[in-house]
């Protein structure tokens, strides 16, 4: 079975794709059948992913140094060989497991959440395509294959964010997500092209071998740094790093299961995964790696400061995602694949848990989104509330929940590689994370119940994924315990650092507990007046609440510069380009109409042209070839 799963790992993305095709073409009209096909396919993929993981991790060292790889030639031209294949190693098997797991749970959850939606089948078709694209991205053997699926993921997120296409805000959010990530993709494409031109291959395994010998390919370290930074722009867009993070909070316009899928396991971690896959490049191009580390660290901090003051549940979660992705990117920047992938792994569980929990709350509150309108929900929705609390403990990094281990790992790596500044930035961010998460939890689930709310617990299909994810949010970090040796499994290259010293664990835990305590004091026990704090912060509060006015700034750029340029080009288009194009079109059509008259339908004419053409050809060739012409003109020999 394991052998089969590894040999046929392409089935993992193929099955959800098949379900997309089946739903789209055949079962669209039957909602139950569509949902069944979709869930059956993703669950089968999940089982296969588990088998693959068992095969890869069970083999011990074997696949760590050398991945299990096979591919089919997709396209070839002189100088360019493109293949589509499957690359299985610890990192990709871990991702396959996480993606199929979260996608399965999200689909099961959607059974309840999307119940009665007119586009029920369409929704499942999109979810399937989304999962297929992401899984295809994960198993990619080369950058081009990855780029193809990367774009497909982008397309799917566009479709899903704009799922409620009748809402203007959803349409705008979908466009914003698409265009913002497109900016990143463009940079990334340039990076890919440079790699192909310089190194002549896009295969990860081959690149990993030859990139350190970049000097043999006639480029300097500066050029390599430039290539690495260009490539990094893609993940900046996709994984919502500053300054391209603006689309991610708006993506909340999609149905909540989609938010869980996008923010927890799929689209946004694609960027992290790409950097992880090409880490060999950043190990060589150290300047680019520093850029990556600082962009990540800054994003983590920056997004956390925004999340402090937001009032919509999903928006807080969105900025928290941006912040957590910053952690992962930072970990990669300081050179630790293990820490980053570990954080990705645990984050997938607790963030999906919290998004689905938020969905459960929103479902119960019938569209109310402001956390100040909630309160005391734990009484009416105990399961949602307590699973959410587990998620909150996990993300804050409280022992023994998953986030504790992964956050420590990142802090340790940052410190050990001499990035003391980033280390303290991350610690402060951790404190803020605990604060804003627990601010939301206290306001939503604790305190006084509000009389105007009539919450109810969600159906079982929605609760089941919460239970599973809550369980994983507790135990997910335990793979890092020494006896399980996570660092050993996920290691690529040199061995990672050992255990965090006691002072570091104490610092991180103090930060987390401090954040939670402060939140409790302000929003639960009301010992400290949050209004007074808000006033005292003054302009800082305004900045944070308005997300540093970055959206407004981009809007201003769009309105003045882009639109202005657009109007100018529009004029050129209408009067110059269209004139030429229409003129050409007119000329072409007329030429066709005139030439048509040569087709008389008369046999004699046809025969005449046939023979005349041969004669003309012969004469032309005689006069073209000087030797022959001499003979003709001279009367033959």
């Amino acid at each position: 079975m394991i052998e089969f799963a590894m040999q046929k790992a392409w089935l993992i993305p193929f099955l959800p794709f098949l379900s997309f095709v089946l739903i789209g073409l055949i079962t669209k009209r039957s909602e139950k059948l569509s949902a069944f096909i979709s869930i059956a396919c993703i669950l089968t993929s999940f089982v296969l992913a588990i088998l693959v993981a068992v095969g890869i991790f069970g083999a011990g060292e074997e696949f760590i140094e050398k991945s299990f790889e096979y591919s089919a030639r997709w396209f070839s031209m002189p100088g360019l060989e493109i293949s589509m294949g499957v690359k299985l190693d610890p990192v990709s098997s871990m991702m396959l497991f996480v993606v199929t797991l979260v996608a399965s749970l999200v689909q099961i959850y959607s059974l309840g959440y999307m119940h009665g939606d007119p586009g029920f089948s369409r929704f499942f078709a999109y979810l399937s395509l989304f999962a297929a694209s992401m899984l295809g991205l994960v198993i990619a053997t080369n950058l081009l294959q990855m780029f193809v699926f990367w774009e497909l993921v982008g397309l799917c997120s566009y479709l899903l964010i704009g799922y409620y296409y009748f809402k203007v805000s959803a349409r705008e959010a979908a466009k914003k997500a698409f265009m913002t990530t497109r900016i990143g993709d463009f940079g990334m494409l340039l990076g890919i092209l440079f790699l192909q031109i310089v190194f002549g291959t896009l295969n990860f395994t081959e690149l990993a071998e030859i990139v350190p010998k970049y000097a043999d390919y006639g480029i300097t370290l500066g050029t390599l740094n430039l290539i690495a930074i260009l490539l990094f722009i893609g993940p900046v867009g996709k994984s919502g790093q500053f300054p391209l993070h603006v689309w991610l909070p708006d993506a909340m316009e999609g149905p909540t299961p989609v938010s869980a899928l996008i923010h927890a396991a799929t689209m946004v971690v694609a960027g992290v995964y790409l950097v992880g896959r090409t880490l060999f490049l950043y190990k060589t191009a150290t300047t680019a790696a520093e850029v990556v580390a600082y962009v990540g660290g800054f994003t983590a901090f920056f997004a956390a400061t925004i999340a402090l003051t937001q009032i919509e549940m999903k928006r807080i979660l969105a900025y928290s995602t941006v912040s957590q992705l910053g952690y992962m990117i930072m970990a990669l920047g300081v050179g630790s694949l293990t820490a980053s992938m570990f954080q990705l792994f645990t984050h997938a569980f607790f963030k999906a848990l919290m998004f689905l929990g938020a969905g459960s709350v929103l479902h119960a509150m019938h569209g109310k989104v402001n956390v100040w309108d909630f309160g005391g929900l734990r009484k009416k929705m105990p399961y949602t509330a307590w699973t959410f609390v587990i998620g909150g403990l996990a993300i804050a990094g409280i022992w023994p929940f998953a986030g504790f281990y992964s956050k420590d790992e990142i802090l340790l790596e940052a410190f050990n590689t001499g990035h003391t500044g980033l280390f303290w930035l991350a610690v402060i961010t951790a404190a803020m994370t605990a604060f804003y998460m627990w601010r939301m939890i206290f306001l939503t689930f604790f305190g006084e119940e509000k009389a105007e709310n009539h919450p109810h617990e969600s159906p079982f299909s929605m609760l089941l994924p919460l239970f599973v994810l809550a369980f994983l949010s507790v135990v997910g970090g335990w793979v890092a315990l020494p006896e399980h040796g996570w660092g050993y499994y996920i290691r690529l290259g040199e061995h990672e650092a050992g255990h965090a010293p006691a002072w570091m664990i104490a610092t991180a835990t103090t930060a987390a507990v401090g954040g939670i305590a402060l939140a409790a004091a302000m929003y639960w026990k009301k010992i400290i007046s949050y209004e007074a704090v808000g006033k005292a912060a003054g302009p800082l509060y305004t900045l944070s609440f308005n997300k540093y006015f970055i959206d407004e700034f981009y809007l201003w750029i769009n309105h003045t510069i882009v639109d202005g340029l657009g109007r100018l080009l529009y004029w050129v288009d209408i009067y110059v380009v269209d004139g030429i194009v229409n003129g050409l079109g007119f000329f072409t059509k007329e030429a066709g109409a005139v030439l048509r008259h040569t087709q008389t339908g008369r046999l004699q004419n046809y025969a005449l042209i046939l023979f005349a053409a041969v004669v003309v050809l012969v004469l032309y060739m005689y006069f073209k070839s000087p030797a022959a012409a001499m003979i003709v003109l001279g009367g033959g020999n």
């Binding site: 002189p78 066709g592 030439l595 087709q599 046999l603 042209i609 046939l610 012969v618």
Partner: protein, 477 residues
């Protein structure tokens, strides 16, 4: 002389199938000949399957008169697979015939045999033999709708013009023999010396170009094709469009690339001119056409222009592109013509304007037409895009950027008339919105054409592998 007859399995089986059908049609009573179409298709399909056993075989028979090699095999497979599709597409048409149902299929298989012999020929005589077997069979098939004046007119035009072109071709072959003193193509390489080009040789070559140019309907030898395409029974038209064209291209490659690579500079310029003319004139005249068959005829002229660029490249990459393009052209063309067959079978019309609203009346037909036309236009991710990419990159590699540019511009022009069909099908209002039913055999052809066209666009590697093997028979650059 010892002849290994097992090498001729494909040829003998095809001939056997043709004769068997002929005999069967005499034995089986007229009203019980319904299964002939499926029988023919199945027979050809089996031979097609057997042909894969000859992949990689490289032998010659009777002192090089006949060749069994990957190049020939590729085009045999092309002729056979096209034969299968055309036989299936013919079923509703033949059911409407009053008589000669069995003969129709028998002739179809004889035409296939002609192509098979032609692409395997290693000698001018056997080449001509195959060519005439194919052509004469097509004369009969073109005029098969007895009592239909358009069919009769097409038949007569094809016979007369075809005979003239054969005369030119034969004259050219005799000139070539006179100069080279051999009819074996592979010996031409040593007997025709570069730098010793006599007027007689040039005369012979031009006649060859004229004769085969007629078959591939390249401008200025294309005049017959719209009239014959329009008048002939549509299944015959589709076979004429793909099979006859592919076989003539194979002959071009055999004679020019195989026999005369040493005097490339003479014929490359000539093919470049023909190619450019065909692309420009074919696409331009296609624009004002109102009849789908005539439109496809002119588009076929333009397609011949694109494929000729493979000859212009004069390299193995060019042959690979040419072979690849011809194979995918089979599916796109037969798919489009089969939609026309189903449509005229149900409505009696071949006019593009009558196809308005087809997407409502039969979504499958509209979708197949759209996919096939867009593939011919070279829109990714369909097979036609990959084909044009191979062809144009082959000529760009030889520094013929101008021709690739002409091809690109004319491809853009072609999008106009292809899309106007799509616009009519998808956005037009049907005068009669009743659904159109088509027989199962046509559905099969439609689905196969569409699936192959999409599949080979996304994943062309299996076919490029075969095309590369075919091209590697020739030891060019």
């Amino acid at each position: 002389m010892n002849i290994d007859y097992s090498l001729l399995t494909i040829e003998m089986l095809t001939a056997g199938l043709a004769l068997g059908l002929l005999v069967l049609s005499l034995v089986v009573p007229g009203d019980q000949r319904k299964g002939f179409g499926y029988l023919t298709a199945a027979g050809l399909a089996i031979i097609f399957a057997i042909s894969f056993a000859f992949n990689g075989v490289n032998k010659e028979i009777i002192g090089g008169m006949y060749l069994i090699d990957d190049f020939g095999n590729f085009f045999k497979q092309l002729a056979l697979v096209a034969g299968v599709l055309v036989a299936l597409a013919s079923i509703p048409y033949v059911e409407k015939l009053e008589s000669y149902r069995g003969e129709y299929y028998s002739l179809l298989v004889f035409a296939t045999l002609g192509m098979v012999v032609m692409v395997g020929a290693g000698d001018l005589i056997s080449l001509y033999l195959g060519l005439e077997l194919m052509t004469i069979t097509f004369f009969v098939l073109t005029a098969f709708k007895r009592g239909d004046s358009k069919s009769a007119e097409a038949g007569i035009k094809y016979v007369l013009l075809g005979a003239m072109s054969s005369a030119i071709l034969l004259y050219g072959l005799s000139m070539l023999y006179g100069v080279a003193k051999t009819t074996v193509i592979s010996e031409l390489v040593s007997t025709i010396q570069a730098g010793q080009i006599s007027p007689a040789l040039i005369l012979g070559l031009m006649f060859l170009v004229g004769g085969f140019g007629f078959k591939i309907s390249a401008v200025p030898f294309h005049m017959w094709s719209p009239d014959v395409y329009e008048g002939a029974p549509t299944p015959v038209t589709s076979y004429l469009a793909v099979g006859s064209k592919a076989a003539a291209f194979a002959a071009f490659v055999r004679i020019f690339m195989g026999g005369m690579p040493q005097i490339q500079e003479i014929w490359i310029a000539l093919f470049a001119g023909l190619s450019a003319l065909s692309m420009i004139i074919g696409n331009l005249i296609a624009i004002p056409q109102t009849n789908i068959k005539r439109m496809l005829a002119f588009s076929g002229v333009a397609q011949a222009g694109y494929i000729l660029t493979g000859m212009v490249a004069g390299t193995n990459a060019g042959i690979k592109g040419l072979a690849f393009y011809l194979m995918i052209y089979v599916f796109a063309t037969i798919g489009a013509f089969t939609v026309a067959i189903g449509f005229s079978n149900a409505t009696g019309s071949d006019e593009i304007k009558d196809m308005a609203g087809l997407s409502q009346r039969n979504p499958l037909m509209a979708a197949v037409m759209l996919v096939c036309l867009l593939s011919m236009a070279g829109i990714p991710p369909l097979a036609g895009f990959a084909g044009k990419l191979f062809l144009f990159s082959a000529i760009v590699a030889q520094g013929k950027l101008w021709l690739a540019l002409v091809g690109l511009i004319m491809s853009m022009v072609s999008v106009y008339y292809y899309l106007s069909v799509a616009k009519s099908m998808y956005m037009g209002e049907a005068a009669d919105p009743s659904p159109i039913e088509i027989p199962g055999s046509l559905k099969l052809v439609l689905i196969v054409s569409m699936v192959v066209t999409i599949f080979l666009g996304i994943y062309p590697a299996p076919l490029t592998g075969l095309a590369e093997a075919a091209a590697s028979v020739f030891a060019l650059k």
